[in-house]
C-alpha cells in the first residue's frame, strides 16, 4: 500500500541538516501503524514527505504503486484531496464554515452532487456521533468534537490512506480515547490504512504496530499482541530504553 525506499531528507541552509537517513518502510492495506520518537527525531518530516507536503531529497515514495512526488503541483493537490485523508493536531477546520460544510468541503471542490454529499456527511456524522452539531460553527464546539469533525472530513472521500499528525495532542484523555476508538473502528470497518505520528503511548497502543525513529533513522518496531495493556507496557518500555520520558513513572507490571 505505502512503500518508502531509501528516503532521505536534507534541509539545505548555512549548515545542512540531515533530518532523515535511508528510511525503508512499508504499510499493508488496512494496517494501522503509529510512528513514535523523541522531539526532533524526524517524525513530522517523515509524515510531511508521505503526505506529499514535502519532497524527499533522495529515495522513493510509492502509494498504491504510484509515486506522487512525480506529479505536478495541481495534480498533486488533487491527489492529496482524493487519495489521502488528513487529521491534524490543531484540527485545521475552517471557522467561516459550519460543521457540515467543513465535512463536505473536499467533495464540493470536486463538484460532487449535493444529494450525495449530504448523504455521505450524514452517514459519517452518525457513525462519529456528531449529527447534533452539524449546523454549528467551529468556535462553538469542543476540541473532541472538532477532531471528530476533522475525521469525518478526512474520511468523506473514502481515502486509501489516512494520515494523522498527533490527533490526540490537543485533547484530554477521555476525548483521546473516544477519538482513537473511532479511528480503530474506521480502520477495521473500512479497511483504510492508517499512519499516525504521536507522542502519546496511550494513543499508540491502539495501533497494530509501532515504529520508533530516532535521529532520523529507524530504531526499532514492535507489534501488538493480543492485549492492548501489554502492548502499552511494551511501548513505555521502549520509550524509556530510547531515553524518552517514559521512565518517569516507572512501570508496575500487572
Amino acid at each position: 500500500m505505502l512503500k518508502l525506499s531509501k528516503v532521505s531528507k536534507i534541509y539545505e541552509g548555512k549548515v545542512a541538516y540531515r533530518a532523515l537517513t535511508d528510511i525503508n518502510f512499508e504499510i499493508e492495506k488496512g494496517e494501522f501503524v503509529a510512528i513514535m520518537g523523541p522531539s526532533g527525531s524526524g517524525k513530522t518530516t517523515l509524515l510531511n514527505i508521505i503526505s506529499t507536503n514535502d519532497q524527499p531529497t533522495t529515495g522513493e515514495v510509492e502509494i498504491d504503486g504510484n509515486n506522487p512526488h512525480k506529479l505536478n503541483k495541481n495534480a498533486l493537490a488533487k491527489f492529496r484531496r482524493n487519495e489521502l485523508g488528513f487529521i491534524f493536531q490543531d484540527f485545521n477546520l475552517m471557522h467561516t464554515l459550519t460543521v457540515e460544510e467543513n465535512i463536505v468541503l473536499p467533495l464540493t471542490l470536486d463538484g460532487a452532487r449535493v444529494k450525495d454529499m449530504k448523504e455521505k456527511a450524514k452517514r459519517l456524522a452518525n457513525s462519529l456521533g456528531i449529527e447534533s452539531i452539524m449546523k454549528k460553527r467551529i468556535y462553538e464546539i469542543s476540541g473532541g468534537q472538532a477532531q471528530r469533525v476533522a475525521i469525518a472530513r478526512a474520511m468523506i472521500h473514502e481515502p486509501k490512506l489516512l494520515l494523522a499528525d498527533e490527533p490526540t495532542g490537543n485533547l484530554d484523555s477521555k476525548a483521546s480515547k473516544d477519538v482513537m476508538g473511532m479511528l480503530v473502528s474506521i480502520n477495521e470497518k473500512e479497511r483504510t490504512s492508517l499512519l499516525m505520528v504521536t507522542h502519546d503511548p496511550q494513543a499508540a497502543s491502539y495501533s497494530d504496530r509501532v515504529v520508533f525513529i530516532r535521529d532520523g533513522k529507524l530504531h526499532s518496531e514492535i507489534h501488538r499482541g493480543e492485549s492492548r495493556q501489554a502492548f502499552f507496557q511494551k511501548i513505555i518500555d521502549m520509550l524509556s530504553l530510547m531515553g524518552g520520558d517514559g521512565n518517569d513513572f516507572s512501570s508496575v507490571r500487572i
Partner: protein, 631 residues
C-alpha cells in the same frame, strides 16, 4: 522596561504590522500638505488671484482636513480590529483597561508624529510636481516656482498633531475591551451578518429606483430642487442596498445548496457572509465617496466643456467684428482699419471677408428674417473650409445651427420651412431643404438664395456689416495677444474666440484644479479603504488557505477564489458609484440641456480604468502573499 518604553517598542519593533496604518496616515498628511503648499504659494498673495479663489481654497482645505479626520479614524479602528487578540493577551497577563488604553494612546501619538513628519517630507519631494501640474491646469501669468513652504509646514504640522491627538484620545476612549474571551477568540468569531429583512431589501430597491427615476425625469431648473431629496433618497438606498439587499442575496445563495455547495463557491460565499458587517460598511463608504468624486469631477469637467465648447462651435472664425447698431459708416471703417492694424502689429497671417447682413420682412409680416446671397455665403464658407452651396435658380435653403440654441422649443428651421421668401414682385419661393452650418451666426436661422433671386428682393428692412477673419493654424500666442488688444480697444464690437476661451479658462482654472484635487483625494482614499479591508483580513485568509492547501487545493482553484473575492470587493461598490455618477451627470446635462455624454464617459471611463489597474496590481500582490504562506 517602563510602560512607555513598552508601548514605543511595540511600534518600533513591529514595523510590518503598523506599516499600513502608518502609510495611510502619512498619505493623508502628504495630501493636505501639498494642498497647503499650493494654497500658501507667494504667487497668490499678489492681486492675481482674487479673494473668492482664496476663500474657495480655504473651504477646500477645510474639506480635506475634515475628511482626513474620518479617514485616519477609520484606518485606526480597522487597525485596532486586527489587534484584538493582542489586547486579549495583554489583559490576560493582568494589564488593566486603563493601561491598554494608555498604550493605544501612546502608540497613536508616536505613529501620528512620525506620519506627520514623514508626510511633510514626502510632500516636499512632490511639491515641485504638484506646482508644475497646477501651473498647467491653472492659467496664471506668474509661474508657480518652487519655494520653501514655511507657512505650509507650520500649518500642516500643527493641524495634524492636533488631529492625531484628538483621534488618540477619542480611540482610547471608545476602545472596547469588555469581554476577554471575545478578544481572545477575536478573529475566529464572526461579527455576524446585519439583520436582513425582506421589507428593507425591497425598500432599498424602491428607494434607488425612485431616486434614479426622479433624477432622470426632472428637467431644467427642477433639477436644482430635486437635488437634495434625490441625494438623501439615493444615499439611504445605497446604505440599505449593502446592509440589507446584499445580505439578503448572499443568504439566499447560501441556503441554495446546489449553488453554495458548488466547487469553490462555498469558500467564496462563506467568507462574504462571515465578514458581512465589515464589508457592508466598507462598500457603503467606498460607494458614496467615489460617487462624490465622480460627480464632482464630472460636473466640473462637463461645465467647463459646456462653457467652452458651445462658444467654439458657433464661432468658427478667429475674429469677428460687428458694429453697434448706431455706428456710422465712418466709425465702422475706422474700426476695421484699426482691427487690421492690430493684426498686422502682431504679425498675424489672416484672411478677411466682409458682407452686409440683410434682413427682410416675412410674407406673414410678423418679423424680419435674414436672407443671404449664395455667393456671399460661399465666400464665408471658403474661409472656414465649410462646404459651399450650389443653388438652382428659384431655390431657397434654410440654414440653422442647433449648437447655438440652448433652450428647447420649436426649432428655428421648422418656423422657416413653413414660411417662404417673398420677392418684390409678390412671388413667393418655398424653401426646399434645411442644412446645418456654422458659416453665419443667427439664432433664428436664415435663408440662402440664388444671387439672381436676391437681386429681386428689394430693399432690406435693416442691414449691418459683418467682418470675419480666419487666421492660419499655429499662431495661437499671437492670436491671444491680438485678442487682448482688440478687446481693450474695440470692446464688445470685436470678438476673438481664442481670447474669450482663454479668459474663461483662466477664471475657471482654480475651481477646476481644486475640484480635481479633492475628487482625486476622495477617490484615492476610497481605494485605500478597500486596501485596508483586504489586508486586515489577510492573516486570517492566509491561515484559511494554508489549511485547505494541506487537504489539497489546486493553484487554479485558489486563484479563482481569491480573484472573485478581490473582484467583488473592488468592483461592487465602484460599479454602484459609477451608476450613481452616470445618473447624476445625466441630471446635470438635463439642467443645462446640454449633451454631456462624451464628458461623462471620459470621466467615468477613466475612473473605471484606474480601478481596473488598481485591481490588477493589488490582486497580484495579494495572490503572491497568499501563495507564499502556502508554500
Amino acid at each position: 522596561m517602563t510602560f512607555r518604553q513598552f508601548a514605543f517598542n511595540n511600534v518600533l519593533r513591529n514595523k510590518r504590522m503598523y506599516i499600513a496604518y502608518f502609510l495611510s496616515s502619512m498619505f493623508t498628511v502628504m495630501v493636505f500638505f501639498t494642498f497647503a503648499i499650493f494654497a500658501y504659494h507667494p504667487a497668490f498673495s499678489g492681486g492675481e488671484v482674487n479673494d473668492t479663489a482664496r476663500f474657495g481654497m480655504g473651504v477646500a482645505g477645510g474639506i480635506i482636513y475634515v475628511f482626513s479626520f474620518f479617514f485616519v479614524l477609520y484606518s485606526m479602528s480597522s487597525f485596532l480590529q486586527s489587534r484584538k487578540k493582542e489586547f486579549g493577551l495583554l489583559m490576560m497577563l493582568g494589564a488593566s483597561n486603563k493601561q491598554v488604553r494608555w498604550m493605544v494612546f501612546l502608540e497613536n501619538i508616536l505613529i501620528g508624529f512620525l506620519a506627520t513628519v514623514s508626510g511633510i517630507l514626502a510632500g516636499l519631494v512632490f511639491a515641485k510636481a504638484i506646482l508644475l501640474i497646477a501651473e498647467n491646469v491653472l492659467i496664471i501669468s506668474e509661474s508657480l516656482y518652487f519655494y520653501f513652504p514655511t507657512m505650509a509646514i507650520i500649518v500642516t504640522f500643527a493641524s495634524f498633531m492636533f488631529l492625531f491627538f484628538c483621534i488618540s484620545v477619542f480611540v482610547s476612549i471608545i476602545l472596547r475591551t469588555n469581554k476577554l474571551v471575545n478578544l481572545i477568540k477575536g478573529d475566529k468569531q464572526s461579527k455576524g451578518e446585519p439583520k436582513a429583512s425582506v421589507i428593507l431589501s425591497v425598500l432599498a430597491a424602491m428607494l434607488l429606483l425612485v431616486g434614479y427615476g426622479t433624477a432622470l425625469y426632472v428637467k431644467g431648473v427642477q433639477v436644482v430642487f430635486a437635488l437634495i431629496p434625490v441625494v438623501i433618497v439615493v444615499t439611504l438606498g445605497t446604505y440599505l442596498l449593502f446592509t440589507q439587499l446584499s445580505v439578503y442575496v448572499v443568504r439566499r445563495l447560501k441556503s441554495n445548496k446546489p449553488i453554495f455547495w458548488r466547487k469553490t463557491n462555498m469558500l467564496l460565499f462563506s467568507d462574504l457572509s462571515f465578514r458581512m458587517k465589515d464589508n457592508a460598511r466598507t462598500f457603503f463608504m467606498v460607494a458614496i465617496i467615489s460617487t462624490v468624486a465622480f460627480s464632482a469631477i464630472g460636473s466640473l469637467y462637463g461645465f467647463q466643456s459646456y462653457l467652452t465648447k458651445g462658444i467654439q462651435e458657433v464661432n468658427p472664425y478667429t475674429f469677428t467684428y460687428s458694429p453697434w447698431g448706431g455706428d456710422s459708416e465712418e466709425v465702422t471703417k475706422k474700426d476695421i482699419s484699426d482691427f487690421n492694424a492690430i493684426l498686422k502689429e502682431e504679425n498675424i497671417d489672416a484672411e478677411m471677408e466682409s458682407m452686409e447682413l440683410t434682413y427682410f420682412e416675412t410674407p406673414e409680416k410678423d418679423r424680419n428674417v435674414m436672407i443671404v446671397r449664395a455667393s456671399d455665403y460661399n465666400r464665408f464658407a471658403t474661409l472656414i473650409g465649410a462646404t459651399e452651396l450650389d443653388l438652382k435658380e428659384n431655390e431657397a435653403i434654410v440654414v440653422e445651427q442647433s449648437g447655438a440654441i440652448l433652450m428647447d422649443g420649436t426649432k428655428a428651421s421648422e418656423v422657416l420651412m413653413k414660411s417662404s421668401v417673398l420677392l418684390e414682385n409678390g412671388q413667393e419661393i418655398q424653401p426646399s431643404r434645411v442644412i446645418e452650418s456654422e458659416v453665419l451666426l443667427e439664432i433664428n436661422g436664415y435663408y440662402v438664395v440664388h444671387d439672381q433671386v436676391y437681386d429681386k428682393l428689394g430693399t432690406p428692412v435693416r442691414s449691418e456689416i459683418n467682418v470675419a477673419w480666419k487666421a492660419k493654424e499655429g499662431q495661437h500666442d499671437q492670436v491671444l495677444q491680438a485678442g487682448k488688444k482688440l478687446s481693450e480697444q474695440l470692446e464688445y464690437k470685436a470678438f476673438s474666440v481664442d481670447y474669450t476661451l482663454y479668459e474663461i479658462n483662466k477664471a475657471y482654472g482654480p475651481i477646476l484644479f481644486i475640484g480635481l484635487f479633492i475628487g482625486i483625494v476622495f477617490f484615492v482614499s476610497a481605494g485605500s479603504f478597500l486596501y485596508f479591508r483586504l489586508f486586515t483580513d489577510l492573516e486570517g485568509e492566509k491561515r484559511k488557505f494554508r489549511s485547505i492547501a494541506k487537504i489539497g487545493l489546486t493553484q487554479p482553484e485558489l486563484k479563482k477564489v481569491v480573484n472573485r473575492q478581490v473582484a467583488i470587493l473592488f468592483f461592487l461598490p465602484i460599479v454602484v458609484a459609477l451608476i450613481h455618477g452616470a445618473v447624476a451627470l445625466t441630471a446635470l446635462s438635463r439642467l443645462f440641456d446640454y449633451n454631456l455624454t462624451v464628458e461623462s464617459s471620459i470621466v467615468l471611463g477613466s475612473f473605471a480604468f484606474i480601478q481596473i489597474i488598481y485591481f490588477i496590481v493589488v490582486r497580484f500582490f495579494y495572490v503572491k502573499q497568499v501563495n507564499r504562506s502556502i508554500m
